[in-house]
């Protein structure tokens, strides 16, 4: 039984345009999966579906073999807070808060004491070389640093599933390597990592490769 899976998963917008159609795929524990395909093919949408942020129009998302796509909103939010880590395409940091605040943001949603979250955050920021930016605002750091901070936020809870949307899209090769290595290490710890990417090299380095077609 895979940690995360889809069964005949379909999603379309209100205008009737189908983005994902009858997709059945498994994301085993300990694996890194690459989602590739041209822009607009539904890579990001599939990540949001896997992350329980939107409900599919058909099929199912399974976590530990249990359908979770149709759970009440509160339950899906709880699963996201406790079991999922997200790295968004543009880092999606809060520009009005410090880097440290951004990294520990999810502690509030999980009900984790902030003190504990801060300790873990400092360890992660040190690992990714951004510890000196803890008190800076996102506007005062580079794009590569922002993406590493987004990675710290995603890994703070040691999530079982990490969903990363083009995590190396705007990064230099050295920083990209740090990010990919971190995701690989996290998968080696037993998590399922799913990466949407345009980077053929990154896709080739993954355990599994799902190519989505243009609509």
């Amino acid at each position: 039984m895979s940690l995360l899976a889809t069964e005949l998963l379909s999603f379309g917008y209100q205008n009737g345009e189908m983005v994902v159609r009858d997709l059945s795929v498994e994301f085993p524990s300990g694996s890194v999966t690459a989602l590739t395909g041209p822009s607009g093919c539904g890579k990001s949408t599939l990540l949001y579906l896997l992350g329980l942020m939107v409900r599919p129009v058909g099929g199912a998302v399974l976590l530990d073999g249990t359908p979770v796509h149709a759970l009440p909103d509160r339950e899906r939010a709880r699963l996201r807070a406790h079991h999922f880590g997200f790295v968004f395409q543009d880092a999606a940091l809060d520009p009005t808060r410090t880097v440290l605040d951004n990294v520990v943001e999810t502690a509030l949603y999980r009900g984790q004491p902030r003190r504990d979250a801060i300790s873990a955050a400092h360890r992660l920021m040190e690992r990714f070389g951004v510890q000196l930016r803890a008190t800076h605002k996102p506007g005062q750091i580079s794009g590569g640093q922002a993406q590493r901070i987004a990675l710290c936020r995603a890994l703070l809870t040691n999530p079982r599933v990490v969903l990363a949307d083009e995590p190396t899209g705007n990064l230099d090769p050295a920083t990209s390597a740090i990010v990919v290595e971190a995701l690989r290490e996290h998968a080696d710890g037993g998590a399922a990592v799913v990466i949407a990417t345009h980077d053929p090299a990154l896709a080739a380095a993954c355990d599994q490769h799902i190519a989505l077609d243009a609509r």
């Binding site: 992350g51 509160r74 996201r80 395409q89 809060d94 009005t96 949603y109 902030r114």
Partner: protein
Amino acid sequence: MSVLGRVASLIREAYAAACSQPVASLLTVVMVAGMCAGALLTTGRTVAAEQAALSRIDAAGTRSVVVRADPDAGLTVALLDRLFAVDAIEAVAGFGPIVDARNAAVPGAPKVATRRAYGTIGDRAMVALPSIGGTTVEDRAFASSRALVALGLHDNTGDLVTDDGRGLVVVGELAVPAHLAFLEPLVVVPSSTVEALAGANPDDPLVVLVVLADTPQQVAVVEEIVRGLLTPTDPTKVSIETSAELAAIRAAVSGELGSYGRSLVLAILAGAAVLVAVNNLTLVTLRRKDFGRRRALGATQSLIIALLLSQVALLAVLGAAVGVVTALVGLAGARQPIPDVSFTAAVAIAAILTATLAALLPAVIASRRDPLHELRVP
């Protein structure tokens, strides 16, 4: 984490969010401060003037019914217990016939009227004091400050001798409430018992009966009740004075100003609520990506609503404090009447609740932000 810990985390995050959005936060503070100051500078001043007017009216005995009778009119102390059982009556005080007395230690000293007293005078029950030493229950008296001065009893105690040759011992000072001021200078011999206001001798005559209604509005009703219970042998020897006209004036003052004040406060609160709601709608619109991110990372809708409402409530508390202080300083500086604590607190609480409630719709909108729509990069 405990519930208390979660609440503390929520408030901490609300505070941090408020600090990170200084312009919107400042606007909310200013709006709530304006709401409070506006209410206090207009209605608050009116209410303070009303309270001062009502206080002056009340001091004149708005709630009292005074019955005067000749000693042989048939009015007895037995009436007191029947009156005290009536719901609309707060207190009764009865006084027996006057016996003049003077300081026993000063021959030729001025005389002061003494009376048997029943019921309650101010906070003091007119229960006869227990016998001590050689004195009897009927020997002990209390004197008002004016009486003490007139009698020359500078230590608030001393011996008196009455015109009929009886001795009295003044054992303390009696505070005389405003509605009994017409009896001054007053020396009373408490004569009720714990069991009955009428004391041991229910047939003792009363010459003055003062009945205090619960509210000014009940004076007319109480007057009717008193009239119904009076059974004088000779009605021409009994007279009743009421404060019904004062009560009517009081009701008119209270009603007119109260109605005007309520309307004005409601208008101010409604106006400010609209401004707070618009401010927060703007904030939610400008920061829709922020709320979309929070939802994506696991914030429930109820948490986002609680977060935004807490944020506005914190700012509203600050705004209310600023508004109240500003208004009170302004009123004091202009030597205008200052509303009492309860009205000021009510305005502040109403302002905080109104502002928080006004943020509910924006909070609900924020909680429904769709991460897919807000976070996707074209």
